[in-house]
């Protein structure tokens, strides 16, 4: 048992540090930016007429489509299409390498889900806050960015943490775009030593370790975000 761990754990951890962690972190940052933007735009009730209104309608349709397509199809297929499919259609700049294809897909996919979570948190902020800000002459943009989002952030932390944790594990799909990340490495090793169960347990422990460490900031962020809320005894 000890020998098993000593043999395999180091390789797996190295793979994790080389691929799993950077892939997760980079994709998450991109995903949150996408998600917040999409959520805000989709929550926004525009105050426009004529051409401006049409423009908004088209934009909203596009955003709806983005969320729909990325949520309703398997991420594996998305990776496949970006990496194997698009180049066939001559679009290869999107996926010059597996790494970049993976970041694209992981971010867009996670962003689609997270945008819905953020939208939910935006809808939890009472309309009175929006009205109070509007009455002070703030623009819709200011109201969203300065009043609604900061309060919605507090609510969305646990669900964004969900997204992040899922993402850490979804990086294992990067193997289909030729990245030998931690999980695939464990499968390769299991294919040789024929101990898939032990191997999987080991890799699960390492995932748990990563996820736990990477989630530490959450509690501090949450505490900070709760500063303006009466203590829940």
């Amino acid at each position: 048992m000890f020998e098993f761990i000593a043999t395999y754990a180091p390789q797996l951890i190295v793979a994790g540090i080389k691929y799993t962690i950077p892939l997760s972190l980079v994709s998450f940052v991109v995903a949150v930016v996408i998600a917040a933007t999409v959520a805000v735009l989709r929550s926004y009730v525009p105050h426009a007429t004529g051409l401006g209104k049409l423009g908004w309608q088209i934009l909203k349709l596009i955003l709806w489509f983005y969320v729909w397509i990325f949520r309703s199809t398997p991420m594996l297929v998305q990776l496949f299409v970006v990496f194997y499919g698009l180049p066939k259609l001559g679009i290869s700049w999107l996926s010059p390498s597996g790494w970049i294809a993976a970041v694209w897909v992981l971010s867009l996919n996670t962003g689609a889900y997270a945008s819905e979570a953020i939208r939910a948190s935006i809808s939890s902020i009472p309309d009175t806050q929006r009205e109070a800000a509007a009455a002070l002459g703030m623009t819709d943009r200011q109201i969203f960015m300065r009043i609604i989002l900061p309060q919605a952030t507090r609510i969305s932390i646990p669900t964004l943490a969900n997204s992040f944790i899922s993402l850490v594990k979804d990086t294992s799909l990067a193997s289909v775009v030729t990245i030998v990340e931690m999980f695939y490495l464990s499968q390769q090793l299991a294919a040789v030593n024929f101990e898939p169960l032990k191997m999987y347990l080991l890799v699960a422990v390492i995932y748990a370790l990563f996820v736990t460490i990477l989630s530490i900031p959450q509690r501090y962020i949450q505490r900070w975000a709760d500063r303006f809320v009466k203590d829940q005894r």
Partner: protein
């Protein structure tokens, strides 16, 4: 008709069966022509037919359980199936943990490249990019030969990468190549048999404790070899007889 066991007492080799009176066979179903689904969605293939014939010889019904490679291995330990017919090569490490019956097929390894590739012999593989999947022996072989392995889920994806130039080569069995070639006569890829890599054989794989069953299966396969069934199946699926040890 089989010289079946007396009705009352179950023979020793049947005691540990996952399901009474049935030989439960584990396979992936993703490896044409060994086990795969035909266009109508029916499970078929060389290993499917072979295990059916073996079960018949043992006087057992047959049941197929399809799952992924890792699960096939783990499932033997927890007795989710009695035998795995899935192109399993017998290696030293594996024999420590599992029992293998006698090999039923022998294949050669080929290097698949674009026409005009500068890979001519195994020596040329060094430093090249090869597309391989983890669950195959070829992945290990490619690594040993000094290639940079690009991982893919399966043979089909490997072919895709070679086609698109994202990989230089993929190693696989001659028969898998044959199937592909048959399906895509216009292909711009070509394959070269390589001697320097081990020839591979495939054997039924069983739980370590199922020595008795393994022996029975070996015996059944011998009978099938003798009565020509084995060769016929090989001809049917590979257009050649791969069941004889070279």
């Amino acid at each position: 008709v089989v010289p079946s066991a007396p009705a009352k007492s179950v023979p020793a080799y049947q005691k540990n069966l996952h399901k009474k009176g049935t030989l439960t066979v584990g396979l992936e179903g993703t490896y044409s022509p060994y086990s795969y689904r035909d266009k109508s969605g029916k499970l078929t293939g060389f290993e499917v037919d072979l295990s059916k014939a073996v079960a018949k010889k043992l006087g057992l019904k047959v049941k197929f359980t399809q799952t992924k490679f890792d699960s096939l291995v783990a499932g033997l330990d927890s007795r989710k199936y009695d035998v795995v017919y899935n192109n399993m090569g017998k290696t030293k490490e594996r024999t420590k943990k599992y029992t293998f019956a006698k090999p039923y097929i022998y294949t050669k390894t080929v290097m698949i490249t674009k026409t005009g590739s500068d890979i001519k012999t195994a020596a040329d593989l060094k430093g090249k990019k090869s597309a391989q999947s983890a669950s195959s022996n070829f992945g290990q072989a490619a690594k040993k030969a000094g290639t940079n392995v690009v991982s893919v889920p399966g043979f089909a994806e490997a072919i895709d990468l070679v086609n698109s130039g994202k990989a230089d080569v993929t190693l696989n069995s001659q028969d898998s190549w044959g199937v592909y070639k048959k399906a895509h006569p216009e292909t711009k890829l070509k394959a070269k048999v390589t001697k320097t890599l081990d020839n591979t054989s495939s054997s039924p794989m069983l739980n370590k404790k199922d020595k008795a069953l393994a022996k029975k299966i070996t015996k059944a396969q011998k009978q099938l070899a003798k009565d020509g069934t084995l060769s016929d199946l090989s001809e049917k699926y590979f257009d050649s007889d791969l069941t004889k040890k070279p």
